[in-house]
Every structure is written in C-alpha cells, then in structure tokens.
C-alpha cells in the first residue's frame, strides 16, 4: 500500500524553519507576559505576592524534572537530594560566609553537580523501578545524614536559620526583586528546555523513553545520555532550591525529605508529563491549592487533592495539557487565538510509565 506512491512534499521543510522560529518567539513572549505579571493577577484570584515566587521555585524544579521523566522516561524519587542539597549549601553560605547570592548560586550549583554525578553514576546502571528505588535510597541517606552527622552545619531537626538578607552586588533581594529573579530564571530555563527538546540531543533522550534497547543497538551510548539528562535536571532542581532560600532565608529539613521528591512527581503528572508547559501548570496548580484553596476547604484539602490526582491519572493520563488539547480541538482551534497549539502528549505517554 505504501510502496509505489512516491512523496511530493518532501522538500517543503526549508522555509518552515523560519515559521517555526516565529511561532516559538510568539509563544515565549506570551508565556513571559503571563509569568512576569503573575504577582499582580495572582492577588485577584486570592493569592499573594510570595505565592508567585513559590510558584517560580517549583515551576523551575518541575521543568528540569520533565527533562528526566518526560523526555528520558526515568522516574527519579530522589530529586529532593538536589533541591534540598542546594538549599542547604545556599543556607550555609548565607549564614557563615556572605549574603551575596552569586556566591551562593555558584556554590550550590557546583555542590549539586558533584552530588548528581555520584548519585547518577550509582543509580543509572539499573533501570525501571530499581532506578527509582536507588535514587530514593540515596536521597533518604542524605536526609538522614543532614539530621545526624551533618547536624552541626545543618542545624539538625530545627532546620537552618540565618539572620541574613540575601543581596545581589550589595542590593538587598526581597519581595518583588526575588520574584523577578525567579521569573527570569524560569523563562530562561523553560526556553533552554524547549530548545533542548527540539535538538538532536533531545531526540536521543526521547528515544530512550521509547526503546532503550533499539537505541543501544543503533550505536548510541544510552548510559551517557541518561547521565546527561540526570545531571541537567539536577541543576534545575538546584536552581529551585537556591531560589527557595533566597525567597525565605530558612532551610527546612523537609526540603531534603522524600515527600519533596514526591511533590514534583505529582506536579508533573497532574500537568502533563513530557510537555514542559504541563509541569509548570501543575506546579502552579499545586501551590495555589496548598496555599489558597486550603484556606477555604480546611483540613480536607489533602483529601480533595488526592481525589483530583486520582481522577487525572484515570481520566486524563496526559494531565491538564491533555485537557487543554481536548478543549482546543472541541472549540475548533479558535479559543487560543494566535498562540501555537498546546502540545498535548501523545496518547500513550503516561500509560507506559
């Protein structure tokens, strides 16, 4: 059926590149506008300025996590190690050395890179559930270590407290300036992740999720690509952990706890694994739910959230992004105006985890 008919429009791809680039710019501008105005519009729906900053923190974490889970198909349950690790390094720098955030940023990035190389090296030899359990084990070990042998540095169960106001070149960083730093980091990180997704490197990562054996037997060093994805996502988590401490100069032990790893997994699944935009929406939703909706429905909020999670997994395996693309199709693609179509995940994406 496919043999004889030769294809005519093979070479229409040339000027499509320009069009794609234009669409990408439009998309990023709309995204940036929504993100940068968040402190203003979030108060209209019952939020507060600080919540916008928290959303930036978790959105950065979730975007990086999507590079690992969404593209590469590796489910890490140990990313709290990188989030919390960076938070503790940042906290120690602020408390003991300097309030200059550039120093804390670099220190936390270097520290997490070393951590990611070690944990990645030991975990990536195994696949599937064993990989998840290994990452969970390493993160739990780090949590235990922070509370016990590292307690003199970390403050143990009390968390790490400091009296510093973080500063950038001597200017104090508080309130909106922290938000805008976070917003620029998110926009930059999001653009980096989208660029990566469309590159040759991104194709290799996505093919690991599809069929790692075929990839290995096509002459590709699957282990090296997995390792690269793991380290990149760890750096995103480190940026988030760093930002969290700049926002609120206190390091809670919870940052290293496994539930932090779990939270980013929930955000990704609710938003739509592998879509990049989905996990950001998931992060915003979860933060909004935890901080705003909670005050309306009281103690039952965790129950309601659990219910929403279950419903999404059963009926919307592609998360909110799937819902978005369903609405997009139902409304005849008019509701979204000039914006590019939401990239709904292909139908099997989350079912095959």
């Amino acid at each position: 059926m496919s043999t004889e008919t030769a294809s005519a429009p093979v070479r229409a791809a040339g000027n499509a590149g320009v069009k794609t680039f234009g669409r990408e710019i439009t998309f990023m501008m709309i995204f940036s506008a929504i993100v940068l105005t968040m402190p203003f519009w979030i108060t209209l729906i019952g939020g507060y300025q600080g919540l916008a900053t928290k959303i930036m923190v978790w959105a950065i974490f979730a975007v990086g996590f999507d590079i690992l889970l969404g593209f590469t198909g590796l489910l890490s349950f140990g990313h709290a190690a990188f989030f919390g690790g960076a938070a503790y390094i940042t906290g120690v720098v602020f408390r003991d050395y300097t309030s200059e955030i550039i120093v804390a940023f670099l220190a936390s990035q270097v520290g997490v890179m070393i951590l990611a190389v070690i944990i990645g090296f030991l975990s990536i030899r195994r696949t599937g559930i064993y990989f998840s359990i290994l990452t969970l084990a390493f993160a739990s070990m780090l949590f235990a270590a922070a509370l016990a042998i590292f307690a003199p540095f970390t403050g143990g169960y009390d968390g790490l407290t400091m009296r510093t106001t973080p500063s950038l070149f001597g200017m104090p960083m508080q309130g909106l300036s922290v938000f805008y730093m976070g917003a620029f980091m998110l926009i930059f990180g999001f653009a980096v992740a989208r660029t990566l997704k469309n590159s040759a490197f991104g194709l290799m990562l996505r093919s690991i999720k599809e069929n790692p054996m075929r990839l290995e037997y096509t002459g590709v060093n699957v282990w090296a690509y997995k390792m690269a994805a793991f380290i990149i996502s760890a750096h995103f988590a480190a940026v988030a952990g760093f930002l969290m401490v700049v926002y609120e100069p206190y390091v809670a032990t919870k940052f290293l706890h496994w539930s932090t790893s779990g939270e980013v997994v929930i955000m990704s699944v609710i938003g739509g694994v592998g879509t990049l935009l989905g996990p950001i929406i998931g992060a915003a939703f979860l933060m909004y739910f935890e901080n705003v909706v909670q005050s309306f429905i009281g103690e039952q909020w965790k129950l309601v959230l659990g219910l929403i999670f279950v419903l999404v997994v059963i009926f919307l395996p592609g998360g909110f992004m799937q819902l978005g693309s369903m609405i997009w199709k139902a409304t005849g693609q008019k509701a979204f105006g000039g914006a590019p179509p939401p990239e709904g995940p292909r139908k099997h994406d989350s079912e095959r985890e």
């Binding site: 496919s2 043999t3 004889e4 008919t5 030769a6 294809s7 093979v10 070479r11 229409a12 791809a13 040339g14 499509a16 590149g17 794609t20 980096v192 660029t195 990566l196 469309n198 590159s199 040759a200 490197f201 991104g202 194709l203 290799m204 996505r206 093919s207 599809e210 069929n211 054996m213 075929r214 990839l215 290995e216 037997y217 096509t218 002459g219 590709v220 060093n221 699957v222 090296a224 690509y225 690269a228 292909r346 099997h348 994406d349």
Partner: protein, 269 residues
C-alpha cells in the same frame, strides 16, 4: 570431531565465496549451566555475501548471533570484524564499528514518527555514540533528517513518514527497522528471522527489499526457519545442530547433505 568439521567448512568456503571474510569466528563456545549452547563453532562470512544460518529449534542460532553483537559474552573463542576483535566490547561500540542488528520482533521507536526513527540512526552514525548538542534545532535543514527522508523513500515508506511507527503493519515495521540499519551505514547486517510472523505477501516484499539492500554491498547474516527465504536469498548456508556446525556450503550443497536431512528429520521423530 569438531576439528574435522572446521576443516570441511574452510575448504568449502574457498570454493564458493568471493571476497575476503568480513566476519571471522573461531572456536566459539558458550555454556549456559549444563547446556553447551555453542560448541566450538568457527565460521567465516565473505564480504558482500548473504550468509544464512539454519538449524532445528534449540540449535544455538540466536545465541550465536547474540555473541556477535555483545548481548552475550562467549566463554572462549574469537570474533573478528574486519580483522579486529570485537569480543567484550559494549553493544553500542560494536554497532559503531559497522554492524547492525534486526530483531525477531521488529525493534523500533513506537510513539515517534518514521522520520524521527530513521534520523536517530543517521545521527548515531554522524555524531558517534554520544554528542552533547542541545541547541541546534533538528529541522528539515539538518543533514541527518534529509538522509532519513531519502532512506524512507528508498524502502517505500515515504508517504507514512510523519505518522507514528506503532501504527505500521508488521511488514512495514520490519522495513522501518531495515531503514534504521541502512541509516546506520552498517557494513554487516545480522537478521534474526526477519520474516517471522509475516504473511507470504509481506515475506516476499521483505525478501525483495533485502535483495535491493544487497546491491549496496552490505553483508548479511540471516537466521531463518523459512526455507523459502533461505533459498531465495542466501549464497551460502551454515547449518547448526545442537550448537555445532554440521554443514556449510552453497544452498544446493546443503540441500542434499545427508547430515542436514538427518538433523531436521531426526528432530521430527
């Protein structure tokens, strides 16, 4: 006993196959617990030829192929590809040397377009086993993508190239897998029952495609049950039974070999 067979094989080899051997296997052994899966197998594959390995079930054919590709490490013996040993190398290093593998169940990237499927192989050939190039977009202007489009046209899948690979028929999945191997510019292609589970129509189309690929000079080693496939393609046939080589020669020689008849009929009784 084994020595005699090796000698027989080598004399036969000189008579028939043109060109120098691209793959040389000498004294290969592999034991799984109490089972000697491969027993002192030696075999030369001539460059540019189509070489079939046949034999009854459990003869060690698949194990033999897996030893070639690094999936199983042989206990003893030598495997030389283009005069260099490939024993003990990781699979992706062996592939990078120029060997490709077609699996019994077509191994493709299911929820990806056909173009992406083949582009991956073209990139692996162009960029090697690992390259960190996360910035440049992979669009129509990319050389790997253009090559992928051309190869899909060559194997007759051009008009489905933007669809997902999982929706292809069994025969077309096999074509796609072969397209991946072509994009890898393999010098030696190892095929494990390439027509297993296919209709006669799909089988014949696959045979035609394999013949077409042969014109590019790609050497092939085929494991096959289907004698129709073996006798339409192979220039040389090696027969394995219980892990040892019992015959080796042209299809005609093998067809009349009494040991081969015994091995196949013996299994039926």
């Amino acid at each position: 006993m084994a020595q005699v067979q090796t000698a027989e094989m080598e004399t036969g080899h000189r008579g028939v196959a043109p060109g120098a051997p691209i793959l040389e296997v000498a004294g290969l052994n592999k034991r799984f617990g109490g089972l000697q899966a491969i027993n002192n197998v030696s075999l030369n594959v001539a460059k540019g030829s189509i070489h079939a390995i046949i034999g009854p079930n459990g003869a060690g054919k698949s194990t033999f192929l897996n030893c070639m590709i690094g999936l199983i490490e042989p206990d003893t013996g030598e495997v030389n590809f283009e005069g260099r040993s490939i024993k003990g190398l990781t699979p992706h290093r062996i592939i990078q040397r120029g060997i490709a593998r077609v699996f019994q169940t077509p191994q493709i990237f299911p929820v990806m377009s056909l173009v992406d499927n083949v582009t991956i192989a073209a990139l692996a050939k162009r960029d090697g086993e690992f390259k960190f190039n996360p910035i440049k977009p992979l669009n129509g202007a990319n050389s790997a993508r253009q090559e992928a489009e051309a190869i899909l046209e060559q194997v007759g899948l051009a008009d489905q190239r933007h669809g997902d690979a999982e929706h292809l028929s069994r025969g077309d999945k096999r074509r796609l897998e072969l397209a991946i191997c072509i994009a890898a510019h393999a010098k030696l292609l190892l095929l494990d029952e390439p027509t297993a589970g296919m209709s006669r129509h799909d089988t014949n189309r696959t045979i035609d495609l394999l013949k077409t690929i042969s014109e590019t000079g790609m050497t092939k080693v085929i494991i096959e049950h289907d004698m129709h496939v073996v006798f339409s393609l192979a220039q040389r046939v090696t027969v394995l039974a219980q892990g040892t080589v019992i015959a080796d020669g042209t299809p005609e020689e093998v067809r009349v070999n009494p040991k081969v008849k015994e091995a196949y009929l013996g299994g039926a009784h």
